[in-house]
């Protein structure tokens, strides 16, 4: 299946080494650490360049000496080997000189690190909670929180559709932050260890169950910045992107106001949803989408599951068993498995419709209908 783009990329690979020597800026950008949009990310880039330059100089000296020796002291040119094999003086020199170089490296690294670890006097705090395989953001001062899931469709991952520009790096709801404010991140996790990383902020902090870690940033430029989970966290570790939308300060304040308003409206909507009696067709329609967004990654779009770790829902025990047990499993999850509690993540309508869908799809024929009010009462 060598497509046109593949051949194009192949071609670029072959010409890659030719390009290395030339000053091709597109490649140069891909080959270096990202400069980012914070003072700290730029300071770290400088440290990176500084240490790289020292390594390159030492490397040129050492390898240059080696290659010269290989050339000049090869047997055909230098048949009689010298007999020296010891010198305390040079041993002392090449022990102390590297120590001095290391001190020269340690000084900027130490001063940057002291600033990185200074989490005091934050203007704004966001609690970041990782769980398999999504992020939850909570604005502690604004009483506002939401989940952020990857938005790249399954079809792109499985090569049925052309991959978009931000393939695997796009989410349904980005974290929104203001510029020029000291933002403190608190990271933790619900299940396994994750790591929240945005290269442009030079922030990488592990999210560990039972721990609350701290990090901070101060962003200089508005824009969209992307990152990924950096700690292996199970099956969909590759599908846990981070997207941060950075707004100017006044826009950010307006955004917070808008979000508070949206919460008011949504709770009104929830009351209306509960009041209504939904038909099977309506619920299945909504439920299918909820299922594809949240359940299909493990249980598969056709409900066939993946071995014993992710049980099949087609003909499965729970979707064909008592309804109360099914509702409880979806809302509360199963202890010590990757089945999460969905009650805090989905609305009454979404839960009701996805359970209805599971009981009437994949060949399951319970004919059961779950209404949002049932879910509301089960909460």
């Amino acid at each position: 299946m060598i497509s046109v783009t593949t051949r194009f990329r192949l071609h670029r690979c072959l010409t890659f080494f030719a390009l290395l020597g030339s000053s091709n800026m597109a490649f140069a950008a891909e080959m270096d650490m990202r400069a980012g949009v914070t003072d700290m990310s730029q300071r770290i880039l400088q440290l990176h360049h500084y240490s790289l330059a020292i390594c390159v100089v030492i490397g040129l000296l050492v390898f240059g000496t080696m290659f010269y020796s290989m050339y000049a002291h090869r047997r055909s040119k230098h048949p009689k080997p010298a007999t020296f094999h010891e010198s305390l003086r040079v041993e002392v020199i090449w022990t102390t000189v590297p120590i001095l170089i290391l001190i020269g490296l340690a000084i900027p690294a130490t001063s940057a690190l002291i600033d990185i670890e200074d989490n005091s006097d934050a203007d704004l705090t966001v609690l970041i909670t990782g769980s398999q395989w999504k992020w939850h953001y909570q604005y502690l001062e604004a009483d506002l929180g939401y989940y952020s899931n990857m938005a790249t469709p399954e079809e792109q991952i499985n090569n049925f559709e052309t991959k978009g520009r931000n393939y695997l790096l796009e989410v349904d709801r980005a974290l929104v932050l203001p510029t020029d404010k000291k933002v403190r991140f608190l990271t933790t996790a619900d299940d396994v260890i994750h790591s929240w990383w945005v290269p442009d902020f030079a922030v990488k902090q592990d999210a560990i169950p039972g721990y609350i870690n701290e990090a901070w940033t101060r962003i200089n430029t508005p824009g969209l910045y992307r990152g990924q989970c950096a700690e292996l966290c199970g099956k969909d570790h590759a599908y846990m992107p981070i997207e941060v939308e950075v707004l100017a300060e006044e826009e950010f304040d307006q955004w917070i106001v808008d979000q508070r308003l949206a919460i008011e409206l949504a709770s009104g909507q929830a009351v209306a949803d509960r009041a209504k009696t939904w038909t099977m067709a309506e619920l299945i329609d909504i439920g299918q989408q909820v299922y594809l967004d949240h359940c299909a990654t493990c249980h598969e779009a056709d409900g066939s599951g993946q071995g014993s770790t992710y049980p099949a829902l087609a003909g499965g025990e729970i979707p064909n068993g008592p309804m109360a047990a099914h509702i409880s499993r979806v809302m509360n999850g199963a202890v010590d498995t990757e089945m999460q509690a969905w009650a805090p993540q989905l609305s009454d309508l979404e839960l009701a419709s996805v359970i209805t869908y599971e009981r009437n799809a994949f060949g399951n024929t319970t004919a059961d209908i779950v209404q949002p009010i049932t879910i509301f009462e089960a909460r």
């Binding site: 990329r9 192949l10 690979c13 890659f16 650490m33 390594c55 490397g59 050492v62 000496t65 080696m66 020796s69 290989m70 002291h73 047997r75 230098h78 080997p81 010298a82 020296f84 094999h85 010891e86 041993e91 022990t95 590297p98 120590i99 290391l102 340690a106 690294a109 130490t110 690190l113 002291i114 670890e117 991952i157 090569n159 991959k163 931000n166 393939y167 790096l169 260890i193 990383w197 030079a202 922030v203 990488k204 592990d206 560990i208 039972g210 721990y211 870690n213 990924q228 989970c229 950096a230 700690e231 292996l232 966290c233 199970g234 099956k235 969909d236 570790h237 590759a238 770790t309 990757e338």
Partner: protein, 535 residues
């Protein structure tokens, strides 16, 4: 690899004779051969897993390996390469060479030696069998961080734990044997400071093994009790601490990475003087540098954990200690260069691999120094930059070390010279392929590609494709290595006892192939024909 017949027990069928010879052997050369073959077989198995990984990463999207399978491949590739290829490879070399180099008739504890080898085929059969179990093989990376390996681990995790226990027992027994052999069976006149460098580095490695393998055993045991006996060592909900696991694991894990490289240092220190026809420069400082690296390796485990939320003071201590390791490591590299300086150098295959080792290992050392700088590590950590770093120190480091040793001593083991032309082709294809595979990974990591991901965004596509091409070439070139080894065992130009013009040491006073039993009467040391006896 030995062609000498073992003790034939009469009235047995040929098959039984063959089995009992290899199952019951207590001869250090035969056990060495068994270790080397086990390492070789597992090298191809773990290499095949690397091919699956690189095939999947050839292009964005899912093509060959679903995420669950991919994670199993990543985990098993790492576990088998570390515990099944490099460690048994070095132990095999130790078995073959230590007695020959110190003038001993055999290892000090021959039955223990047999036992420590024969544990391993069972351990790795168990480990590999997990691939076929319900729920699949371990899929949490070779570092098996809790709680991914406890609460969320597949059922096969328990089999993996048992396998790791077996490997640990084998390693500790093997290490005890090596320590006892070196301390007790050296030929008269060979004081500690007259031992060949390979013997020195293995002595220090063996001490590292005895000290840290029990820590690994403790870590997997705590995982086991957390999984099945309601303990909460690593479970936050029960008052435990997931980060504790990382401390325990890396307290083993960091000395472990020196276990994987110190014998390689020893090999380079044997081979470079031979082909430079000049005594090793700075013998004493080489020994002290190796010991310093080993001691420092116990206080730097925290540099694997900078992003776990360590306090500032701990980060600073670990950063400084880690940077300090560059000093003795630098001393070793400078000494190798000084050994070559004004020598009379030829470039036979073992020398090529040893030089490749020094240069590429040093590049891995440079990226290691960069990784030690905590602020920069916040960007490098858990990206392909780290993958590039440790493959540079392990492939052209540990694996090239083993390969150069095999080319160097194979004529001694088999009595035949390997095919020099093929050996050179092997070297040049391997070194091109290694750089093509692993150098672009530096760029991927810097550009922001996390490690252990099954699929990646589009800006990483070009370098991943280059790396995958390189990996395919690297895999093929090792098939050539297998061919060269088999060809040498089956025949070839006869090797002299001394084999290499510039070689020094007791093993070269023996005939090639080395008879099954050697040094039954202790040899003279230093050997009369040595041009430059040690002081």
């Amino acid at each position: 690899m030995t062609v000498t017949a073992g003790h034939n027990i009469p009235n047995r069928s040929p098959l039984m004779a063959f089995l009992s010879r290899w199952l019951l052997t207590t001869n250090h050369k035969e056990i060495g051969t068994l270790y080397m073959w086990l390492s070789f077989v597992l090298f191809f198995i773990a290499g095949a897993m690397a091919m699956v990984i690189r095939m999947e990463l050839f292009q964005p999207g899912i093509q060959f390996a679903e995420p669950l399978l991919y994670n199993q491949m990543v985990t098993m590739h790492g576990l088998i390469m570390v515990f099944g290829v490099v460690m048994p490879g070095f132990v095999g070399l130790a078995n073959w060479q230590l007695p020959l180099m110190i003038g001993a008739p055999d290892m000090a504890l021959p039955r223990l030696n047999n036992f420590s080898f024969w544990i391993l085929p069972f351990a790795f059969t168990l480990l590999i069998s997990t691939l076929f179990m319900e729920g699949g093989a371990p899929n949490f990376g070779w570092t098996f961080y809790a709680p991914l390996s406890t609460t969320y681990g597949p059922p096969s995790t328990d089999v993996f734990i048992f396998g790791v226990h077996l490997m640990g027992i084998s390693s500790v027994l093997g290490a005890i044997n090596i320590i006892v052999t070196i301390f007790n069976l050296r030929v008269e006149g060979m004081t500690l400071m007259k031992m060949p460098l390979f013997v020195w580095t293995w002595l220090i490695t063996a001490f590292l093994l005895v000290m840290v393998m029990p820590v690994l055993a403790g870590a997997v045991t705590m995982i086991l009790t957390d999984r099945h006996f309601d303990t909460s060592f690593f479970a936050a909900a029960g008052g435990g601490d997931p980060v504790l696991f990382q401390h325990v694991f890396w307290f083993f894990g960091h000395p472990e990475v020196y276990i994987l490289i110190l014998p390689g240092f020893g090999i380079a220190s044997q081979i470079i003087p031979t082909f430079a026809r000049k005594k090793l420069f700075g013998y004493h400082s080489m020994v002290y540098a190796t010991a310093s690296i080993a001691i420092l390796s116990f206080v730097v485990w925290g540099h694997h954990m900078f992003t776990t939320g360590m306090p500032l003071i701990a980060e600073l201590f670990v950063m400084y200690a880690t940077m300090l390791i560059a000093v003795p490591t630098g001393v070793k590299v400078f000494n190798w260069v000084a050994t070559m300086w004004r020598g009379s150098i030829t470039f036979e295959t073992p020398m090529l691999f040893a030089l490749g080792f020094v240069i590429l290992f040093t590049i891995g050392g440079f990226s290691g120094l960069m990784l030690a700088l905590v602020p920069a590590d916040f960007q490098y950590h858990d990206t392909f930059f780290v993958v590039a770093h440790f493959h540079y120190v392990l492939y052209p480091g540990a694996i090239f070390g083993i390969m150069s040793a095999v080319y160097y001593w194979l004529p001694k083991w088999t009595g035949n010279m390997y095919d020099e032309r093929l050996g050179k082709i092997h070297f040049w294809t391997a070194i091109i392929a290694i750089n093509m595979t692993f150098f672009p990974m530096h760029f991927l990591g810097l550009a922001g590609m996390p490690r252990r991901i099954v699929d990646y965004s589009l800006q990483f596509a070009d370098f991943n494709m280059v790396a995958s091409f390189g990996a395919g070439m690297l895999g093929l070139t090792q098939v050539l290595f297998l061919y060269i080894v088999i060809k040498t065992i089956r025949g070839g130009k006869k090797a002299t006892g001394r084999v290499w013009e510039g070689a020094e040491g007791l093993e070269w006073t023996l005939a090639s192939p080395a008879p099954l039993h050697t040094f039954e009467t202790p040899p003279k040391f230093p050997t009369p024909e040595e041009d430059y006896p040690r002081d």
